[in-house]
Symmetry: C3
Subunit: 247 residues, 3 copies
């Protein structure tokens, strides 16, 4: 569907790679659809024991493609973004992410659905929704506070300030920081999980998610409804226009 998302299976780990580095892996509608397909296939393929989401050792994901956003009319349950988010929030196998460089918007919120996250020094996490006239998405209104506590969640979502790998680790957003070779480290972590008893892994993940699964799914839809409303408002149009004029 798109050359910008590639997959490869290695020792039980499906590596799902964002490969649009010249645009800092900003996600297009086609890329969301490709990610959905990759996760769906990983779910049903018995050879896949864990999934690693990554960009490369320079860039993870700069967020949703903003030009793509401007043409977005709908975030219904059959839209590429919502199909991706519902597949993501319901994904049953271990999911890991390796983060380098920018992790902006969906680049950070996707991490909230990952079981383990490793980031490289110099990574930059940011949730600039409000400054763009938008709101929390991808379940982040529920899931962020579960990792970093309510005070930091408020701060990250409302102010849109950027955070370093070190701060993301100290606050509990991620699990580990490495100096370099983050994708290799992520793959090693994923292979370790892939070697553990599968039923035990999947069952434990399901038990961990059970208490907030319904709430996270509901949040994704509640957020999407507000997101698309804001996207069509003047605040957001002005903010995105200002963003482009600054470039």
């Amino acid at each position: 569907m798109t050359e910008f998302v590639t997959t490869a299976l290695e020792d039980g780990v499906l590596v799902v790679k964002l490969a649009r580095a010249d645009k800092k892996n900003a996600l297009t509608q086609a890329m969301y659809s490709a990610l959905t397909d990759a996760l769906s296939q990983a779910e049903s393929d018995l050879a896949v024991k864990a999934v690693l989401l990554q960009g490369n050792d320079q860039v993870f994901c700069a967020g949703n493609d903003l030009e793509d956003f401007l043409s977005l009319k709908d975030l219904g349950q059959d839209s590429p973004i919502l199909r991706f988010l519902t597949t993501l929030v319901r994904f049953k196998k271990p999911l890991l992410a390796a983060v380098a460089g920018p992790a902006v918007g969906i680049g950070t919120t996707v991490l909230l659905h990952c079981d383990l996250v490793v980031a490289q020094q110099g990574a930059r996490f940011q949730l600039p929704f409000v400054a763009l006239g938008l709101c929390a998405e991808a379940g982040s209104s529920v899931l962020l506070a579960q990792r970093v506590g309510q005070a930091k969640a408020n701060e990250w979502l409302l102010t849109g300030k950027a955070y370093s790998s070190e701060e993301a680790l100290a606050q509990g957003l991620i699990n580990q920081v490495v100096e370099k070779d983050v994708c290799a480290t992520g793959l090693a972590m994923a292979k370790q999980l892939a070697q553990l008893p599968s039923d035990a892994l999947v069952t434990t993940k399901a038990l961990i998610r059970a208490p907030f699964q319904a709430e996270a799914e509901k949040a994704i839809f509640d957020e999407a409804r507000e997101f698309v409303r804001l996207l069509q408002g003047d605040e957001c149009k002005g903010a995105i226009r200002a963003f482009f004029s600054r470039r």
Copy 2:
């Protein structure tokens, strides 16, 4: 209604100031009512984009006035305290606090309803309810653990130990510590939020609160019922009497 709560609007920020410094801003029934009025007006005034709650650079709030407590007979939904707490928990616009010196009892629990909190070095946070024969209030039985984790929440609420600004920051109760001029810093933070797109801010705050809004409101009432029961019991009367005899 009282000279001990003042308000001033500056660049979209309503500054709500506790002004009973000779009593360390201990809250009386009249002050709760004045705070309720201030928040209600802030909610409906389109010119108010954010609210800053503060004392001065020496004292935030030493808690409920204990002499006032001794005459308290009722914590029903129309009592000044409960009216304040329900207005606070439902407040829709960004709410910030600047804390210096003592933040005792309600002086700490009010912070759990603030989106961003800055404290000055030397501030002292304390929840001495149990030692006074009382119980958690203002939704703290739900909201404190969301910020500092369940282990610290148990410790703060059960032992009543005091904590410094630095520990409050490390545990996630607050967002920032400054050396001095905490009220000016709080105002600067509030002005920054006030300049962001309003609809996006209010929508994101509502989404963040949605998962625990009903639970927090219920906790306020459940706590109040137990609080007023304990207040009329011998444990509490003895503890408050001992407190006054130590002064």
Copy 3:
């Protein structure tokens, strides 16, 4: 019922001691029953104001006895383990733990039900369920994340890595680390709580637990159902056999 659990009352504190040190206090069915009896009596005895759970200053609890596990057929609500867990999760008085040396499996998950936990330097916390082909238990799928955040909870439960006292404190699993004499420190902390107004203590604990009480109880049963299913599967049998062959 067993000599491996002893109790002693001191200044309002019931000290419940695991006393099977040559087996690192690994818990047998008989020990679970003795713990249930100790908690039940503590609940009804007006002289007991707080309970301290401890081993000695070398060892807290190495987990469930694995040989005992192999003969386990049932984790229904009348089984010794489930009776212990339901008594534990519903226990109304302040419960503390003093941890030295290994705190493995139930040795860590029991702490999630304690109001205050002190650990000694050199203690080692580990949740090796998945590596043994098993899953989260004792409510840990809900309660661990409330203490250490979702990212660390995922990591501890899925990878089964061991953690030090210092890391357990930094992440919020426990309240304090001491260099030595952990049992004496735990007793001193328990005596302090025992001197506070009882009604206020018990009421505050109940308020703190109210928001997640039902969820924690449900998790214990949901986990037990999966646990016993996994225990009878080949993954788990192979993993436990491998464990014994490594010894």
